[in-house]
Every structure is written in C-alpha cells, then in structure tokens.
C-alpha cells in the first residue's frame, strides 16, 4: 500500500495548480451555453495546456500526451477542488472520439476528431429505441443500401442533446438476416438531413433532457460508416463500458454529501440548526460511510489500471448500481433536512441551491434506470461477477403449452 504519487507527480500537481491560478478567470460563466464563444475559447485553452483531450494525438487536434492515469487523476482532483470548468464533455467527446481513433478511417479522423473535441461539432447518440432498451441488440431501425447511400427508417429514443446536435452517431440494422448482434452497423450523419424529425421528451424534472428522433427515408452517404457492415455492436460496446462507470463517480457523491453537510450547518428548523438533530445526523453519517466505501473502491480501481495483476472485475461492475442509488439517497437527504423548504422547485423564492436537490433526486432516478437499469446491472454482476447461470431460454414446447 503506497498512496503517494511520487515527486514527479507532485511537480505535475504544482503545474496544474499554477494553470488554474493563472487561467481560472477565463472559464465560462453560468449562462454561457453550448454554442457560446466563451466555451469554445475555454476549450482551446484547456486543450493547449493538456487539460482536455489530453491523449488525443496532435495530428487530430489534441494535446498528444501518453496516457497517464495518475496525471488524469491529479487534474480531476485539482479542477474539482477549485470547482473549475472541465470544458465541454458531450457524448461526441467522451464516446465517439475514442471510437473514431480506434476504428475510424484516416479520413474520418481528419474530418471529425478535431472539430468534435473543440466543441465545434456537437453530437448526439442514437442507440436506444422504444423496443430496444435493456435488450439494445434487438434494435430495428434499419438502413438499406441504395446506390451510394444508406436509406434509414425507424425511431430512436432517449436521445439527449438531439435538439442541439449537429451530427448523430447511430446504431442501425443493416443485415436483417444475420444474428442480432452481427446485423448492426455504426453510422454518422448530419441532423439537418431531410427526413429527421426531433420531438422533445419532457421528463419528470420538467425539462426535456431527452428526445425522440424519427427517421423517414433519411439518405446518408455510404462511406459514413465506422467499422465494417455488421460490426456496429462491437464498436458501440467498446464505449458503453466507459459510460457506466462515469454516471455516478464517488468524487461527485462526496461533493454532494459535503453540500448536505453545509446545508445542515447553515439551515435551521424551529430555531435548531439541522446538524444538531441526531436523527438527520445519523442519516448523514450512514451515507458518509457508504460514500467512503465507494471512494476507496475507486482508488483500488485506479491502482489496478497501473498494476495490471490486480483482479478488480467485480469491484468495477458494481460501480454504476451502487453509485447511482447512493446519489439518489444523498439528494433525498438534502431535501428531507430542509423540511417544507425542501418542496421548493423552479421559481420558488425559498428554493436552496438553485433547486438542485429535488432536480438531482429525480435526475438520479433517471440514471438508476438509464445506461443499463439496476436490474440489468444485477444480472451482469451475478452472471459475470459471481458465475451464476443466465435465465434459461423457454423451449418451443413450453411456449406452445403456455400459448395453449
């Protein structure tokens, strides 16, 4: 056990601190949107100094550093501690860019990577469908080749940022006769292509965090495919693993828990500071214990990225399940400690923390479901983590009996 990073890394941390001191004033302010020049400028500053797209090669507009998990960690720690804007990290940056670098043609890398990481092209992800959620590989949006073009028909759902996006990366069925995992392809196309209709999907928070996207004879150039025909499932899976862990990080949970502590110190009920209420305090401490367990689990995962001989498969598999449930409960405590004030939402003048407690409470329920539901996570943990069998397929004979 050695939790020090070493002298080289201490020097690197000082570099990061110096950057933050010198440049912090240039970061975007609340209200600067996705399309703002302020965000684009900040993005360029971050990339230039290696604090965004750090390992993306220079040829494609990145910083071109060797992957170094400790340096990435230090950057996260310092930016987090000073609450500095991390730049734009939409799905194009976090999910598509690694895919293109791994599986894209040289032409695709040249065309897309640089504008994507610079927030000049904003992407949305077209994976889930009304009939293909947990069982994503059964998706039915189809693309047929007609001359030099794919013709796409079907529907996607849960498409975040579709209404802001310039382009979509999308899974479509191109080989209807192949087994379901082998009949999918990964296509890229502009969102202003004729035949695409976007309908906002208002959710329980009152916002439209997601959309439905409909395709009617959408024509896309044949070469806008990543990987080969039928390889789309492998392409998509290379990045989904990344998404699951990042939905609910222990660092974010710690920040929110500290937010609850601040709230409990600052707010009173009937003249008594909330922190003096032993019942609320016990709930706070109980959550703190759970957050600490996830923090040290996270350090173990970090360490395993450096020391490859450590087996942390199970420790990794449980992060999405536990992390999202934990966040939901932390937000719940934030609401509960405020009593009736906790009901406040939207433009209510009594609202605390810009109404984030109720909002996040609902949003994290969404994340418990999204990105592989808690129930799907439990299937994965029991099957791949504990070696328990899959649900047996119902035989044709049994189906016939049940049908009768």
């Amino acid at each position: 056990m050695d939790l020090t990073y070493g002298a080289d890394y201490d020097a690197f941390r000082e570099e990061v601190k110096a950057f933050i001191r010198e440049h912090k004033h240039r970061q975007p302010q609340p209200g600067d949107g996705l399309r703002s020049q302020a965000l684009k400028n900040w993005q360029s500053v971050l990339i230039e100094h290696g604090y965004h797209s750090r390992t993306v090669p220079r040829d494609y507009g990145g910083y071109g550093a060797e992957p170094d998990i400790i340096k990435s960690r230090i950057i996260s720690e310092e930016f987090g501690a000073e609450r500095v804007h991390r730049g734009f990290n939409g799905q194009g940056v976090t999910m598509l860019t690694p895919v293109l670098l791994e599986m894209g043609t040289e032409e695709q890398k040249q065309a897309f990577v640089s504008p994507t990481i610079k927030a000049e092209i904003i992407w949305c992800q077209g994976y889930s469908e009304p009939g293909a959620g947990s069982d994503l590989a059964s998706l039915t949006t189809k693309a047929e080749l007609d001359g030099d073009e794919w013709v796409i028909n079907g529907q996607k759902i849960w498409t975040s940022t579709a209404h802001h996006a310039d382009w979509m990366f999308c899974l479509v069925r191109t080989e209807p006769d192949a087994p379901k995992h082998l009949g999918i392809s990964f296509l890229l196309f502009r969102m202003d292509t004729p035949g695409i209709e976007i309908r906002p999907l208002v959710d329980m928070t009152g916002d439209a965090n997601f959309n439905e996207v409909f395709f009617t004879d959408v024509r896309v150039p044949k070469n806008q495919i990543v990987g080969e025909r039928g390889q789309g499932w492998q392409v998509a899976n290379a990045v989904l693993g990344h998404e699951r862990g990042s939905l609910a990080t222990p660092d974010a949970a710690t920040n929110r828990l500290n937010g609850v502590k601040r709230l409990m110190r600052e707010e009173s009920i009937s003249g008594q500071p909330i922190i003096d209420n032993p019942v609320f305090r016990d709930r706070l401490m109980r959550l703190e214990g759970r957050v600490l367990a996830m923090q040290y689990n996270d350090m173990r995962l970090l360490s395993a990225k450096i020391n490859k001989n450590q087996d942390v498969r199970l420790a990794k598999m449980i992060v999405k399940l536990i992390g999202t449930e934990l966040r939901h409960e932390i937000e719940c405590l934030g609401i509960d400690v405020m009593g009736e004030i906790g009901l406040s939402y939207g433009d209510n003048p009594h609202v605390k923390g810009l109404g984030s407690w109720q909002y996040q409470y609902m949003f994290y329920l969404g994340l418990i479901i999204g990105g592989g539901t808690s129930q799907i996570q439990k299937n994965i943990i029991s099957e791949r983590g504990l070696g328990m069998p899959k649900e047996p397929k119902i035989s044709a004979a049994e189906k016939a009996v049940k049908g009768a």
Partner: protein
C-alpha cells in the same frame, strides 16, 4: 502509487487461510461452540505463524507488522469463524501495552502463551462507572470482557485509567452470547490488586478505534463466507427442474450482497493502512468502517440465510455461526448508531 496488498500481505493471507481451512473446519467450529475442547492449539498454531505478535515489536519477540496486516488476518479469521483472542490479545492489548510502555508481558503474548483480555465496558457505555479503583485495588463489575480464557485483563475505568489484573485475582463468570465462537465473561472485583498501565484516555480511545477497524475486517470475512456459501448452494439446489441460482430473484439477492460487500474490501484495507501511516482520518475511517460493515454484514447475513431457504435456518449447515459472528461484531465496541455518533464528533459536527 499502489492501493492494494503487498506480495508479503498476499502470502500472509494465503498461509493463514490454508492453516484455517485445515485446522478450523466446520466440525471444529461446531465442537468448540459446543464447549468441547479448547481453542488453545489453534491459537498456538496461529501464534507460530506470527499472528499473536502482529503488532508487537521484534525486540519483544513479535512480528512487528502493521494494522493493515492485522486487517488481512482478521478477514481470514472471520471467513473461518475462527475462535481465539486475536482482537483482544493480538490487537487491542498489544497496542495499548506497547504504547503505554508496559512491555513486560509482550514477549509471552507474542508466543501465544499469555492471553490478555479486554474489559472496557465502562468506556464503551455499557455500564458507566461500574468499576472503581482505590490504592491500585479494583472493585465493582465489568461486563462483556473478552475472552473468558484470558490470563489477565486490561480494565478501563470511566476516567481513562487502565489497570492490568491477573485472572486469578478476579471472579469470572462466563456469559452466554449468541456467538459461541467467541467467549465473553463478567468480571467481579472485590478490592482486587491490579497494576496501573496508563491514565491516558486518548490511548484508550485509540485502542478501541483499532479494535473497530479489525472488527470491520472480521465482519467482511464472515460476510464473504456467507455470500460464497449462498452462491454455491444456489448452484446445487434444484427446484422446478432448475438450479435455484438460475432464477433472477435469487441472482439479484446475490448480486446485491456482492455489490455492497465488494467496496468494503478496499474500505477495510484503507482503515488499517490509515493507522500505519498515522493519517489524520484514521479514527474517523475506523468508526465508519465498523458501522458500515455492521450494516452490510447484517444485510448479507440475512440475505444469505434466505438464499439457503429452510436449510439456512437449520443447524445442519452451520451457517448460523457466521450469522451470529456478524451480529456479535455489530454490538461489541459500539453499535452502529453509537459509532456513527463518534464519527460525527470526530469531524466536529457535534459535541
């Protein structure tokens, strides 16, 4: 940077587990719990491997390892539901005597010959102010001293004084608890001669905190055993022409146990390591680890029993020894609410 066990610690873990699976199989747990025989030979065997002297300096015949090593050992002991005075003699008493400079007994403790029990109930809140001292003579009672076979006891008074007293000077009544793999007793003193070890309340608290970190690891081991047994049983037991482990309801119970338990491994490692490094958050982490493992352990103990169906409720599988061990750890040295209150005090959230 490396967050994990060293090669030496992995070897230690491996050798302890090998020893325990050979020397403390279920039959041994069963007969010891029934009061047949004693744990003396097991403790001597563990002492031969250096476990009794884990925290004792080499100069006094110990192995001079650290709290992380103690955590590794405790997890293995919990997994085997192994009896013996590891928590009392090897962790709490060794630490306190060493820090207080009362090093005379350490050498015979390291060999496993001399056992020093812990009688701290007055500072843990069970019965405040029951033991009094006058002219180095103790009077009154101490409850829940562990273990019942000790050769001497460290008795803590409410004001932070700790005195050592030979077992021959006290009246000792064994107390039946749910966990028969550990022995607990009530000590009665009647102007019994004892020897002052320390008057430092901070040292008493540090000793309790170390005990809590080690208990957390013991619970982790016991809960891991119950999870492993649940998965194994679910893959053998058939109903409706299928192993019950193929039903999603059962799989999800196992997944929930694993999901809550797995992060506890890193948590208890850090709890041990924090003491070795003298980290500022060592005490806070120990309290949180103890309370968190108490809750996770309780969940696993219940859920694993349910996965075993009716057999889990019977004596036949012996699963209940681990259920009870987890329950014992939950109460001893502070129940979760008490320990969480201390966690709040330690970070200045309340008095």
């Amino acid at each position: 940077m490396e967050f994990g066990l060293s090669q030496d610690q992995l070897l230690l873990d491996d050798s302890v587990r090998k020893f325990l699976s050979a020397e403390v199989p279920l039959d041994a747990v069963r007969s010891l719990a029934a009061g047949e025989g004693s744990d003396a030979s097991v403790w001597r065997g563990l002492a031969d491997m250096g476990l009794a002297g884990v925290l004792i300096p080499e100069a006094h015949g110990g192995a001079e390892m650290g709290m992380l090593d103690a955590v590794v050992i405790a997890e293995a002991l919990g997994y085997a539901a192994c009896p013996g005075p590891f928590l009392s003699t090897a962790v709490m008493a060794s630490f306190l005597l060493k820090e207080a400079g009362a090093t005379d007994p350490l050498a015979s403790m390291a060999t496993g010959e001399y056992r020093v029990g812990i009688a701290f109930s007055d500072v843990i809140g069970a019965r405040k102010g029951q033991v009094t001292e006058s002219d180095s003579k103790l009077s009154g009672q101490s409850l829940f001293a562990f273990d019942a076979e000790a050769d001497a006891y460290l008795v803590a008074l409410a004001d932070g004084q700790v005195l050592m007293i030979e077992a021959s000077e006290v009246t000792r009544a064994s107390l039946t608890t749910i966990d028969k793999t550990r022995s607990v007793c009530e000590l009665t003193f009647d102007a019994s001669p004892a020897c002052l070890v320390t008057e430092d309340m901070a040292l008493v608290k540090q000793t309790i905190l170390r005990g809590r970190a080690v208990q957390a690891a013991d619970t982790l081991g016991a809960a891991q055993y119950m999870l492993d047994q649940a998965v194994a049983y679910s893959l053998e037991r058939k109903q409706f022409n299928r192993v019950v482990g193929s039903f999603q309801a059962v799989k999800h119970m196992c997944a929930e146990m694993a999901s809550q338990l797995e992060p506890c491994r890193a948590f208890t490692w850090y709890a041990g390591h924090a003491f070795d490094e003298g980290a500022d958050d060592a005490g806070l982490t120990a309290c949180h680890a103890k309370a968190h493992l108490a809750e996770v352990g309780q969940f696993v103990a219940k859920t694993s029993t349910e996965v075993h169906g009716g057999m889990g409720f019977t004596d036949l599988l012996g699963l209940h020894y681990w259920f009870k061990r987890i329950g014992f750890n939950r109460q001893l040295l502070g129940s979760p609410e008490v320990v969480r209150h201390e966690a709040a005090v330690l970070q200045g959230l309340c008095d």
